[in-house]
Point group: C2
Chain length 267, copies 2
């Protein structure tokens, strides 16, 4: 028996994350979901996609909702909390970097519901595989949030604000900065007319290896080998890209220091 | 009909790449393969794994071989070429960063056979999916190398030495440096007791997105959004890791400059 349809949920926001949450709530069997957005046309269209209710003012918020989810940008969280009327349901934000403290003493029940993923328009994502990090201010909030999170994802963890901020920082390295390295690799490749996809088997193997043996054991390359000849020849190729050349040197020094304690020579 | 067993091949080396090449030659139907290594015991064991011949001196090299493959480290290529007796077969090296010129005028037929992959002990790799980059000094070498490469891989490209060096540089960014970012993400995560594998769905989605829409379009994160509050809070978390903090700042400046031309503020 699916008991999720007895729980009432409000999603504040109509962006990427709001869309993925709405879709995941629908799949998990929540039938009473209200979408709140500023733009009446956009909000209505958004709600209609899932056959959910909608509102464009906080005054019309479902007063019996068990959960209010703020799926808004980090910069807007403080402002939205200030404008929200008092509500007896649990209010959560969805940010990796914002603390639980942002709720102050406004609500009795509050928490954080942080899905660890990069959300992009039009991409279908299986929410069940996305880790959800939960933090709560009391036992009632805790039990409810864990129960809702588990109805949506197979990977639910409890984390305090400090740990969540570190997880978010880690995610910036392995996602945003990894993608920036992909753009640099792609720029270098543009000089050769080879397609970016030629790198795919290498990138997949790099990732698989890191997860199988741990990234520390998986490191390879000229800097790991201390192959100064190749490093110098690469830096020469980057002479017209000083920003990327600086990153190349820093990475090579980092890797060389980590794996070859004997040589501390600047690369 | 498999005609590969009429071709004779010599592999110089007994390391990771030599192992993957031997395995791939075996799968592609080459039955006359000779392994040459310095260490008699290791070389014999290596050859026995594939039921291939072996030798420990260049004097015993198969004089009728069509192809000699130097699967040795970049640093040893010049030395091995100097020691090799004259041979009428095609001699190739397997390096991404070394030029075709390293062969000088020693042989009539020579070239490069560069498999774009990171090879690690004990990992099974499907060679058919690995791009092979071929360069040759004349038409005979060219036709033979393309034919052999295509018998082993579905992704054979011709590339001159300059282009191959750029491809190798690009590979260092998207593989070696990506793995270094994984080690940094892992180090940051170690403070939270979360396992590295919690990042897997995020990393897979980051990779898939880059290949689907191109890395330039796939960029997300605080630096892309110009979210200075999050960036400052992340830098504070890295105050006891100055090397990683410097990389964080450089990446953020690079991304911010690339996507937000209006703000050139140093991050």
């Amino acid at each position: 028996m699916n008991t999720n349809n007895f729980r009432r949920i409000v999603i504040v926001g109509t962006g990427q994350l709001a869309g993925h949450l709405a879709s995941s709530f629908k799949i998990a069997g929540y039938s009473s979901v209200q979408i709140i957005g500023r733009d009446p046309k956009k909000t209505k269209l958004f709600a209609q996609r899932f056959n959910f209710d909608f509102a464009v003012s906080f005054d019309d918020i479902d007063s019996d909702a068990d959960l209010i989810v703020l799926a808004v940008s980090d910069d807007s969280i403080d402002e939205v909390i200030a404008k929200l009327p008092y509500h007896k349901g649990i209010c959560v934000h969805t940010s990796g970097s914002k603390s639980l403290d942002v709720f102050g003493s406004k609500f009795e029940h509050f928490g954080v519901f942080y899905p660890l993923q990069t959300f992009t328009e039009g991409r279908i994502i299986n929410f069940r595989e996305i880790p959800v990090l939960v933090e709560a201010n009391n036992k009632y909030s805790h039990d409810m949030l864990i129960s809702i999170a588990k109805s949506m994802s197979d990977y639910v963890y409890e984390l305090n604000s400090d740990e969540r901020r570190k997880l978010h920082l880690s995610a910036v390295f392995v996602s945003n900065f990894v993608n920036a390295l992909f753009t640099m690799g792609n720029d270098i490749l543009n000089d050769t007319k080879l397609p970016f996809k030629i790198l795919k088997p290498l990138i997949i193997e790099t990732m698989d290896k890191a997860f199988e043996s741990g990234p520390d054991n998986a490191q390879t390359g000229p800097a790991k080998r201390g192959d100064m000849g190749t490093i110098q020849s690469h830096l020469a190729l980057l002479s017209n890209k000083p920003e990327i050349a600086t990153l190349y040197s820093l990475f090579s020094t980092y890797i060389n220091n980590k794996y070859n304690d004997k040589t501390n020579e600047q690369l």
